[in-house]
C-alpha cells in the first residue's frame, strides 16, 4: 500500500545538482541599484553560463540568525558537487557531520548515526534547496514555476531575488537571494517568513 508522502514541488529527474562556483569574495550590496523585473537577456545569459558547470569543490561559512537560539548558529565546512545529482556537505565546525544528497534522498551522518530523509516528505526543506539547485543548473523554467524572479546587475556581478509563488512555500520562506559573479555563486541568503534569516557564504576552491 502506498502511503507515501509525495513531494510538493516539481523535481522531475531528482536533484539537479549543486554547483559551487568559482569566484572571489562576497559582494558588497549594490545599494541603490534597482533593476527589477529581470533583464530577460541578462537572466538568460546567466542561466546558460551556470548550466555549463559540472563539478566543483568549495568551502562555506554559514550563519543562522534564529529566534529560538541565544546566539547565531555558525558552521563551516566544504561542499562537493558532481554532475548531475551528487552533492556532499561536510560540516567541520562546530561538530563534524556530513550530508549527502542523492536522487532527492538526504543521507546524514549526525552524532554518530545515519539518518535518511526523503525530501519529498519535507516540503519545508524544498524551497531553499530547489531554488539554489535550479539556479545552479540554469533551469529558468523550474525557477519561474516556483518563484517570482528579480534579476539585478550584470553577469559580472549579479543578484537573483526569488519570492515564492506558492502560498505553502511562502508560509515558511519570504525570499531567497542568490548572488554571484559570472558562473560563481558566492552567497545564498534565506529570509524566513518568521523573521529568521540564514546566510551562507561560498568560497570556491576548484
Amino acid at each position: 500500500m502506498s502511503r507515501s508522502m509525495p513531494r510538493r514541488l516539481d523535481r522531475r529527474g531528482g536533484w539537479r545538482g549543486w554547483a559551487p562556483q568559482a569566484g572571489v569574495a562576497v559582494l558588497a550590496m549594490l545599494w541603490g541599484l534597482t533593476v527589477t523585473a529581470a533583464d530577460a537577456s541578462g537572466l538568460d545569459e546567466l542561466m546558460a553560463l551556470l548550466a555549463q558547470r559540472k563539478h566543483g569543490v568549495a568551502s562555506f561559512e554559514q550563519n543562522q540568525f534564529l529566534s529560538v537560539l541565544k546566539r547565531p548558529a555558525h558552521s563551516s565546512g566544504t561542499l562537493t558537487y558532481d554532475a548531475p545529482d551528487h552533492l556532499e556537505q561536510r560540516t567541520l565546525e562546530p561538530r563534524a557531520q556530513s550530508a549527502v544528497l542523492d536522487h532527492g534522498v538526504l543521507t546524514m551522518q549526525v552524532g554518530g548515526h545515519e539518518r535518511q530523509l526523503r525530501l519529498q516528505d519535507y516540503p519545508q526543506l524544498a524551497p531553499m534547496l530547489d531554488s539554489i539547485l535550479a539556479t545552479l543548473a540554469g533551469d529558468r523554467g523550474t525557477l519561474e514555476r516556483l518563484f517570482r524572479l528579480e534579476f539585478e546587475g550584470d553577469l559580472a556581478h549579479w543578484r537573483l531575488l526569488m519570492r515564492p509563488l506558492d502560498t505553502g512555500l511562502a508560509a515558511h520562506v519570504a525570499s531567497i537571494r542568490v548572488s554571484g559573479e559570472r558562473d560563481a555563486v558566492l552567497e545564498v541568503e534565506v529570509q524566513q517568513a518568521d523573521g529568521d534569516r540564514s546566510v551562507m557564504s561560498i568560497t570556491p576552491r576548484e
Binding site: 548558529a73 550530508a99 516528505d121 519535507y122
Partner: protein, 806 residues
C-alpha cells in the same frame, strides 16, 4: 402412434422442459474462479480469499501517458475529483498536496503514539539532552530549515523518527504535485472500488466510470493537445481489469468460437446429408445433451461457470457423432430412400463408445479445479442424454421416408485408399518408441509447473501491471508474512514483535524492507506504554531546564513542546477511525482484516535491491529469523513457491486421475469385449495417438499443462468410438458393413476435428490447449485405428461396393 413411441417422446419433452426451466433459473458466474484451484490449507485459503476479495483485489492502478507533465497533473486532479464525486469508489489517491499535507499533519499530531523512539529513557534528562542536541546539529545541515521549524514543538525529532520508519523506498515519485513514474513521463493514481473483487459486474462498472471520467477530464486538453505532443492516454491495471478483460475475452471467444464451429459442422453435415430435415434431426441429440448438461451442472454444482458453457463446444464434437453413426450406417433400402432400421450391434457399439467417454470424463469430476469438475459433469450428463435421445427418441421422430444419402461409395473409396496405403505394423511400434524417446528426452521439462500458464491474462498486461505496481509502490505480494490471532490487538502486538525481527533481517540485508500495519496503528498496549513514558508537565519542565542548560536555546523556546507532551499523555487512543482520510487508512485496510472469528495481518516483504543482491528473498532465512513465533500465528510465505507447489499437487492429482480414467476404460472394455486381443486392438491406436500428439507438442517446445492432459484424455474418449467400430467390423468379419462404417467415422471425425480445431484458435490458454491437443489427436486416432485393420478386410470392403455397383 404406438404407446412406446408416445411414451419416449413424452418423457423426452418433459425432461427437456424441466432442463430448460433449470437452465433458465440457474445461477451463472462469470468470474475466473473456475480455474483458480481450491486452496488446501486454511492459511492459504485465507490468503486466496483476501486476494480475491480484500482491498488488494479492489485496487485499480491508473496511469496517464502522453501530453506533458502539467497537463497530466491537471487531468490527474480532475479525474480524482470526478471519481470522488461518485459513490463507486471508496478512495481515489493521486498524491496531491492536500492529501500529503493531511498525512504529514497526522504523523505530526500522533508522533508520540507512532514514534518507535518514545521510551522513558528518551524523556530523562540525559535522553532529552541527547535528542535536542541532535536536533540542533540538524540545523547546520541541509535539513536545517525543517529542523528549526520543528524545534519548538518537536525538539526530540519524533516526527522524523516516524517518517524514517515508514517504508518510503517504495513510495511513488511526484511531478507537478501528483504521483508520477520515476522518469516523470506518467501520472499515477490509485482507486479503491466499493465493489468487491469478486463482483466482476461492479468492477466492470467502476472501470467504465474511470474511462468516462478520464474522457471528460481530458476533453478540454485534447482539443488543445495539437501543440503539446501526444494526446493523453489512459492505462488501467489491477485485478479488476484482469477479471473484467478475461471475462469479456472468454465470453467473446466462447460466443465467436461456438458460432464458428457450429457453422462449420452444420455446413459439413448439410453437404453430407443434403437434407435440412436430416440435419435438424441429427442435431437433436446435441441440443438435448447440451441442455441437459447445463441443467446437470446447475443441479450438481449450484453455480454454472461461464467457462463451462464455453466448453460446450467439446460436447458438440462428440455427441453429434451418434446421429451420424445412426444415419450413415443404416442400411439403405432401395434407391437411397430407406426405412431406418438400425442394427442392434450399432447401438451396442455406440453405447460402449459413450460409456468409454463417460469413463474418461468421470476422471475430471474429482478435480480440484471447479471448472474442470463442472466440465466433467457437463460432458457426462450431456453424452448420456445425447446417446439416450439418439437411441430412444430419434428413431421415433424419423418420418416414414427419410432421405439419407448412401455413402457406401465414399466409404469404399476410403477403404480402397487405406488398403493401398498399407503401413507395416512394426512402423507403428517404431513411431511409438520414437515418441516415448522424445518424451523421455524432455522428461525434466515435460510439464509447465507455472500456474500462470493457465492465466488468461496476456504477458503484456502482466508486464504493464508489474510496471504500474512498481511505480506506485503498491505492495508486491510475492513474499509475505501472515499473522493470525483471535483479535486485532493480539495480531498487532504480534506484528510488532515480528517487525523487530524483520528489522534485524533488514539490517543483515536478507530483505530490503517490509510493510507493517502496526506502524500506522500500533497496538493499544504499545500506545499505552509510549504514553506512559511521557513525563507530566512539571517533571518535563524540570528535566528540560537541566537538559538544555548548556545548549544555546533561548529561554521559553520549548514551552510549546511541554504543552504538547502534556496533551499527548491524556490523548485518546489511536484507532482505525483516527486514520480516516489519510493514506495510512488505505494501508491498514489492506494489511489488517477480520475474517470470521480470526484477525489477520499481512506484512509484504521487499527484496534487498542493494549492490551484489539478487533481488530475491531467501524465504528460508526469513523463516529462520521468525522461528521464535508459533507457525500457527506467523507464516512466512513465498507466493510463487506456494502457488507452484499447489499447482504441482494438482498436476499430480490430474495425472493420477487421468491414469485412473484410462484404467477404467481398459476395465470397461475388458468386461464388455472379453478378449485381451480385442482390448489391445482398441487401445493401441488411442495410445499411439496420445503418444504422437504429446511428443509433437513437447518436441515443438510446448510445455504441457493440466489442460493438455485433459485433452489427451479426450483423445482416448473420442477415439475409442472409432477403434470400437473397427473392432466390431473385424470381430464380425463384416466387410459388407465396413464402407458405411468408414464413411460415418470420417464424418464424425471431421466434426470433432472442426469443433476442437476451432477451439485451438482461442486466445484463452485453457481453450486453445484443449483444442490443439484434441483436434490432431482425434484425427490420428482414426487414422491409426483404420491402418491397424487387416488389408484383406479393406480390400473386401472395396470389392463389395464395386460388386454392388456392378
Amino acid at each position: 402412434m404406438k404407446p412406446a413411441r408416445a411414451l419416449a417422446l413424452g418423457v423426452w419433452l418433459l425432461a427437456m422442459a424441466l432442463a430448460a426451466l433449470i437452465v433458465a433459473r440457474a445461477r451463472y458466474s462469470a468470474d475466473l474462479s473456475a480455474f483458480l484451484p481450491r486452496a488446501p490449507s486454511a492459511a492459504q485459503q485465507v490468503l486466496v480469499d483476501q486476494l480475491q476479495n480484500g482491498l488488494a483485489a479492489r485496487l485499480i492502478l491508473i496511469g496517464i501517458d502522453g501530453a506533458d507533465s502539467v497537463l497530466r497533473a491537471r487531468i490527474s486532479n480532475e479525474l480524482k475529483a470526478r471519481l470522488e464525486a461518485q459513490g463507486a469508489f471508496l478512495a481515489v489517491s493521486n498524491g496531491d498536496a492536500q492529501s500529503a499535507d493531511r498525512d504529514r499533519q497526522f504523523v505530526f499530531e500522533h508522533r508520540y503514539e507512532l514514534s518507535p523512539a518514545v521510551t522513558a529513557e528518551r524523556f530523562s534528562v540525559e535522553g532529552l539532552r541527547a535528542a535536542i542536541s541532535a536536533s540542533l546539529d540538524l540545523i547546520n545541515s541541509p535539513a536545517g530549515l525543517f529542523a528549526q521549524s520543528m524545534l519548538r514543538s518537536d525538539p526530540t525529532g519524533e516526527t522524523v523518527q516516524v517518517m524514517e520508519q515508514l517504508d518510503t523506498d517504495a513510495a511513488p515519485h511526484t511531478a507537478q504535485g501528483v504521483w508520477s513514474s520515476a522518469d516523470g513521463q506518467r501520472a499515477l493514481l490509485l482507486a479503491e472500488t466499493r465493489a468487491l473483487g469478486s463482483d466482476t459486474d461492479g468492477q466492470a462498472e467502476a472501470l467504465a466510470r474511470i474511462r468516462s471520467a478520464f474522457a471528460a477530464a481530458s476533453a478540454p486538453m485534447r482539443q488543445g493537445a495539437g501543440s503539446s505532443g501526444a494526446a493523453p492516454r489512459l492505462l488501467l491495471s489491477g485485478p479488476a481489469v484482469f477479471a473484467v478483460n478475461a471475462r469479456s475475452t472468454i465470453e467473446g471467444e466462447a460466443t465467436r468460437l461456438a458460432l464458428l464451429s457450429t457453422t462449420l459442422i452444420v455446413a459439413l453435415l448439410l453437404l453430407v446429408y443434403r437434407s435440412p430435415t436430416t440435419l435438424l434431426l441429427g442435431l437433436l441429440p446435441v441440443v438435448s445433451g447440451a441442455l441437459a448438461g447445463v441443467a446437470g451442472v446447475a443441479l450438481g454444482a449450484g453455480v454454472v461457470h461461464g467457462v463451462t458453457l464455453g466448453f460446450g463446444i467439446t460436447l458438440i464434437g462428440e455427441s453429434v457423432d451418434y446421429s451420424i453413426y445412426l444415419f450413415v450406417q443404416s442400411r439403405p433400402g432401395g434407391l437411397g430412400r430407406l426405412r431406418l432400421q438400425a442394427p442392434r450391434r450399432l447401438w451396442q457399439t455406440i453405447g460402449l463408445g459413450m460409456l468409454t467417454s463417460v469413463c474418461g470424463f468421470a476422471s475430471l469430476l474429482p478435480s480440484s479445479f471447479p471448472g474442470l469438475a463442472q466440465l466433467g459433469l457437463y460432458s457426462i450428463t450431456g453424452l448420456i442424454v445425447a446417446a439416450a435421445v439418439t437411441r430412444l427418441v430419434l428413431p421415433q421422430l424419423l418420418p416414414q421416408r427419410l432421405y439419407i444419402r448412401d455413402l457406401t461409395p465414399w466409404g469404399a473409396a476410403a477403404a480402397r485408399l487405406l488398403s493401398r496405403w498399407r503401413v507395416p505394423t512394426f512402423i507403428f511400434a517404431l513411431i511409438g518408441l520414437l515418441c516415448i524417446a522424445v518424451l523421455w528426452e524432455h522428461r525434466a521439462t515435460l510439464w509447465n509447473r507455472d500456474l500462470s500458464a493457465l492465466s488468461p491474462v496476456s504477458a503484456a498486461a502482466q508486464a504493464l501491471d508489474a510496471q504500474l505496481r512498481g511505480e506506485l509502490g503498491a505492495p508486491d505480494i510475492s513474499n509475505l508474512i501472515v499473522i493470525s490471532g483471535p483479535d486485532q490487538e493480539s495480531v498487532l502486538q504480534r506484528a510488532q514483535i515480528v517487525g523487530q525481527q524483520l528489522d534485524r533481517l533488514v539490517a543483515d540485508g536478507v530483505i530490503g524492507g517490509y510493510e507493517n500495519p502496526a506502524r500506522y496503528l500500533p497496538s493499544l498496549a504499545l500506545q499505552a506504554a509510549r504514553r506512559a513514558s511521557l513525563p507530566d508537565a512539571a517533571t518535563l519542565r524540570q528535566r528540560l531546564a537541566a537538559a538544555t542548560a548548556q545548549l544555546p536555546l533561548r529561554e521559553g523556546t520549548l514551552e510549546e513542546f511541554a504543552t504538547q507532551v502534556a496533551a499527548a499523555r491524556s490523548a485518546p487512543a489511536l484507532t482505525r477511525g483516527t486514520l480516516e482520510h489519510t493514506s495510512m487508512a488505505l494501508a491498514v485496510d489492506a494489511l489488517l482484516w477480520q475474517q470470521g472469528q480470526q484477525w489477520h495481518a499481512l506484512l509484504p516483504l521487499r527484496a534487498n535491491l542493494g549492490a551484489g543482491r539478487s533481488g530475491d528473498i531467501d524465504i528460508m532465512r526469513v523463516r529462520a529469523g521468525l522461528a521464535s513465533n508459533g507457525t500457527d500465528t506467523v507464516l512466512a510465505l513465498n507466493m510463487k513457491q506456494e502457488s507452484d507447489a499447489l499447482y504441482d499437487s494438482y498436476l499430480r492429482e490430474a495425472g493420477h486421475l487421468a491414469l485412473a480414467g484410462f484404467a477404467a476404460i481398459v476395465l470397461l472394455l475388458s468386461i464388455v469385449l472379453r478378449s485381451a486381443v480385442r482390448v489391445a486392438r482398441v487401445i493401441a491406436p488411442l495410445a499411439l495417438a496420445v503418444l504422437v500428439v504429446s511428443a509433437l507438442m513437447v518436441g515443438n517446445g510446448v510445455q504441457l499443462t493440466i489442460l493438455h492432459l485433459i485433452g489427451l484424455l479426450l483423445i482416448v474418449a473420442v477415439g475409442s468410438n472409432y477403434a470400437l467400430f473397427f473392432d466390431r467390423r473385424l470381430a464380425d468379419r463384416d466387410s459388407a458393413e465396413l464402407p458405411l462404417t468408414l464413411a460415418s467415422l470420417l464424418i464424425a471425425n471431421a466434426c470433432t476435428v472442426l469443433g476442437f480445431g476451432v477451439l485451438a484458435l482461442a486466445r484463452v490458454p485453457v481453450l486453445s490447449a484443449l483444442g490443439s491437443t484434441v483436434a490432431p489427436g482425434a484425427l490420428l486416432a482414426l487414422w491409426f485405428a483404420a491402418l491397424l485393420m487387416p488389408p484383406a478386410l479393406l480390400m473386401d470392403a472395396a470389392r463389395v461396393e464395386a460388386q454392388q455397383r456392378a
